[in-house]
Symmetry: C2
Subunit: 201 residues, 2 copies
Amino acid sequence: MAGLRERKKEQTRRRIAAVALRLFAERGFDAVTVNEIAEAAEVAKVTLFKYFPTKESLVLLGVGQEDLAGIVAARPPGQSPLQALREHYRGFATEPAEAVDRDTLIVQMRVIFASPALSSGANDLLHGQRLALARVLAEERDELTAALMAAQITASVLTLQERFFRHLVSGASLDEAGSRLCGDVELAFDLLEHGLDPPGE
Amino acid sequence: MAGLRERKKEQTRRRIAAVALRLFAERGFDAVTVNEIAEAAEVAKVTLFKYFPTKESLVLLGVGQEDLAGIVAARPPGQSPLQALREHYRGFATEPAEAVDRDTLIVQMRVIFASPALSSGANDLLHGQRLALARVLAEERDELTAALMAAQITASVLTLQERFFRHLVSGASLDEAGSRLCGDVELAFDLLEHGLDPPGE
DNA sequence: AAGAAAAATGTACCGGGTTTGCTTTTGAAC
DNA sequence: GTTCAAAAGCAAACCCGGTACATTTTTCTT
């Protein structure tokens, strides 16, 4: 099943991504050409583009994408979408880390935040999430409400992510950032559930 | 004050944008090169890029950008940000049209929706709005709440815009789309004010 | 009419991404 | 082990968006 071919491909893919991330971190996204990356990774440019469709994807394919729609679709019966998401992010905030290497993740975030092209690319990725979430939500309510809910939720989650990673990038430890995130998550979901206007503000 | 120079510049700018929009509408954004546009508008490519910094901006600079932060900053004292925005969009939905040519606007929207590159570019424009709005809101509340509010609001407004224009593009009259928008605005701001979860759903 | 400032231009160039046509490597069958 | 098809890799030329440079044309001023 895991033939030599597959292993070599995976190895090459990792090497390319690692080299690219290192060069981007050293000199900035815009100051590195894909030719340099290909050369440093010892592949042809055309091969690089067979693994990664764009220069941006060299970084962005590495970051784990959430699956908001999946979380909502798989929630236990009787639980509201917001409750399901709130608990998911509660878990995320307390749990120390995932399979990904933390140092690598931080470097990725630093590189992404430092480059407008990458930030905007990361933004685009959330667009698909929004549509998928809207589709799931639309099964139980009218389309406009579903679209608005999805829009508000993804926007809030994006804000949380940005603050979390920005905190991390600016030198905070993972535990520190996580515990701050804990409180942030509660606030964000309270606002989503109860609205922006109430006097309890 | 309005010398020959200024008039000619404005004229050239309009000609370039009009030619570009026509070609994009005829053959799609990606299938038209800037060389073709420059040629058809009878300017050099370099000149075109002096007027419009990117190919996307040939379309996007034409669409009127809202100024959410400005609306909130200029609201009368005692009015909440959400009230101010709700009334602004109420006005927008009932008022028949603005200075812009409606047919041109519809073509622009059709072109934008048909091209991923342009849609994502339009999305980026809202990012600046979000930051500006967050800054204004942060004057009266903590930063996280301000950021979350700004995110939810811009996301909702974007959703409204999308639905409005999509309705228009698919053949609805301006009055028709406007009256539907009326109801949509109320729902969107109700959700923002009172939250997504309450039983009144 | 003269000359400075602004605008327009042609050409050459850069970098991201694709196409084409060819060679090498791998996996599987005999 | 040989053979063969599929997959992967490659070099080079190419397309397109965008920029740098040096030059020329147009407009404004006096």
